[in-house]
């Protein structure tokens, strides 16, 4: 009798995929999480010694961007289904597909989800939250999770439907278009955020005089900078941070340094 995975099994994999990183460890990283996500399929397809072998097969090293682990789960489920029905698919082939996909998918997923989606939604939410409005956290939480759950769902379903066909697609140009497109969007918004979502106020008075109409005119560091290029200070700070990070300086050290700058600046009246 032919063994088939049902929609229910795939839904089960989808639910478990939300806990992929639960037992993350420094030896094999997401390995147990991947195995546990595949268990519904493996239990359905194999019995006895074959099941033991299948479990062992999926406890090997695994680490990728967690949302994009789902297409791999779908593809592997499809491959295991074929194998259980007698197709000639070796352990090496299955491992090869997994190892071959984790790198490229992390390469696509990291800039899209960690580099663009989360910081943009978080900055948007945080900006609103600073006014004390619950809308801020809600926007971030709901929008991020809606996109995340859709990715998980279509990842598992599309991966299973396409099976090994998808492996070529991941290596192809379409993934590169997606990554670069997301990076363009992310960088453009990031540039806007540097200008808009930062507050630097330097009220240090440079000069003060009475103009021809008899009004008092106060020239501060900030008013000079604003007349030249508003937002130039956070822009320069961003570049300084990028350079320090590239030198391998721990971000917490940079944060403490900026705090020290803020405290000293406040004490001498440079910042307010």
């Amino acid at each position: 009798m032919e063994k088939k995975l049902t929609k229910g099994d795939l839904i089960n994999i989808f639910i478990r995929s939300n806990f992929l990183l639960g037992s993350f460890n420094f030896e094999r990283m997401q390995s147990i999480g991947f195995c546990v996500s595949m268990i519904p399929a493996l239990k359905k397809l194999y019995k006895g010694e074959e099941l033991n072998q299948a479990l062992k097969r999926h406890l090997e090293f695994f680490n990728t961007q967690p949302f994009l682990a789902t297409p791999i789960m779908g593809i592997i489920a499809a491959m295991e289904e074929k194998r259980a029905n007698g197709a000639d698919i070796s352990d090496q082939t299955i491992s090869g597909v997994k190892v071959g996909l984790i790198g490229p998918l992390a390469g696509v997923g990291d800039p899209i989800f960690w580099g663009t989606l989360r910081p943009v939604l978080a900055a948007l939410g945080a900006g609103i939250a600073l006014t004390g409005s619950i809308i801020g956290p809600l926007i971030f939480f709901i929008a991020f999770n809606a996109i995340r759950l859709l990715t998980h769902w279509y990842g598992v379903m599309y991966g299973f439907e396409k099976g090994t066909e998808l492996v070529d697609e991941v290596g192809g140009n379409r993934m590169r278009y997606l990554t670069e497109g997301a990076s363009v969007l992310g960088l453009l918004v990031m540039g806007a955020l540097v200008a808009k979502w930062t507050t630097v106020n330097m009220p240090l008075v440079m000069s003060s005089y009475v103009n021809s109409q008899g009004d008092q005119v106060v020239v501060t560091v900030q008013s000079i900078l604003d007349s030249l290029m508003p937002g130039i200070v956070p822009l320069l700070m961003t570049f300084a941070c990028m350079a320090l990070l590239k030198k391998g300086v721990n971000p917490l050290v940079i944060i403490i340094g900026l705090f020290a700058l803020g405290i000293c600046g406040y004490a001498i009246g440079l910042f307010a």
Partner: protein, 267 residues
């Protein structure tokens, strides 16, 4: 604090701890964790504002590959307990968050190391075909992550608001808390820098400057930037497509002298 609040706080802290390793629902992000602590402790507005402030601080903290970010979960939960229960300033919350994030990072590295034990236990259960036990190894690792935030949070909650803690927090001079709040306005640049470095796309930096200039000289809002970004992405992909196609066609044509002439004309 009532018993009910203690229990709810334990749950919120545990969920934030789990979130810090799962990185799925984002319960460990300051924006969500601080809001939930505020909700439990009856001062949701302070929770939201502190959450927004700390989110700016933590914007670039992400786990990419095997690298470990500073821990947002412990920092958010514990600093919001201290700020809300002890009626402290947002500046005091920021002052607390940074050392807490470093401490949380050490704790999660510790847990991720001892979870190697569960990994080897799972190997043993796989050999026996015991699926349930493998699932329990998975849950075990997750619970350790929950406890590494929940237990310190409970310890802090037990002493928060007492005179000793309040006078210790009150002894932070005003120039420090005000100064920290001032830095809170621009500390997010570290996050932006981390994100830009992570994208590692020098050739795409003009888009960053375009966004900056539009923001500086116009009143376009974030939705507008999203739309402009999508249009730029569309044209960028079109260009890239053309480039890759001509590159792919290149070697095939190289044997053809006519095309060689065409190529040199393009130069």
């Amino acid at each position: 604090m009532t018993t009910m609040q203690f229990i709810m706080l334990f749950i919120v802290a545990a969920v934030a701890g789990m979130g810090s390793v799962l990185d799925e629902c984002q319960f460990h992000r300051p924006l969500v964790a601080c809001t939930l602590v505020g909700l439990v402790l009856g001062d949701v507005t302070t929770g939201i504002i502190l959450g927004g402030t700390l989110e700016m601080l933590a914007l670039g903290w992400m786990n990419v590959g095997a690298a470990m970010a500073p821990d947002a979960a412990l920092a958010s939960v514990v600093s919001s307990i201290l700020v809300i229960v002890g009626h402290q300033s947002i500046g005091a919350g920021i002052a607390l968050a940074v050392p807490l994030a470093a401490a949380g990072q050490v704790l999660t590295i510790f847990v991720r190391t001892i979870t190697v034990f569960f990994q080897h236990a799972a190997d043993g259960f796989a050999a026996k075909g015991n699926c349930f036990a493998i699932e329990m190894c998975h849950v075990g690792g997750l619970l350790l992550q929950a406890l590494r935030v929940a237990l310190p949070a409970m310890a802090i909650a037990a002493v928060a608001g007492t005179d000793t803690v309040n006078s210790a927090l009150a002894s932070i001079p005003e120039v420090i808390t005000r100064g920290l709040q001032v830095s809170g306005g621009f500390i997010v640049v570290v996050g932006y820098a981390m994100v830009i470095n992570m994208m590692n796309a020098k050739s795409l930096m003009p888009y960053f400057f375009l966004g900056f200039l539009i923001a500086v000289f116009t009143n376009v809002n974030l939705i507008g930037f999203g739309a402009i970004g999508l249009i730029c992405a569309f044209f960028h992909i079109k260009n890239l497509q053309r480039e890759l196609e001509s590159a792919a066609a290149g070697p095939v044509r190289s044997g053809n002298p006519v095309d060689d002439i065409d190529d040199s004309d393009l130069m």
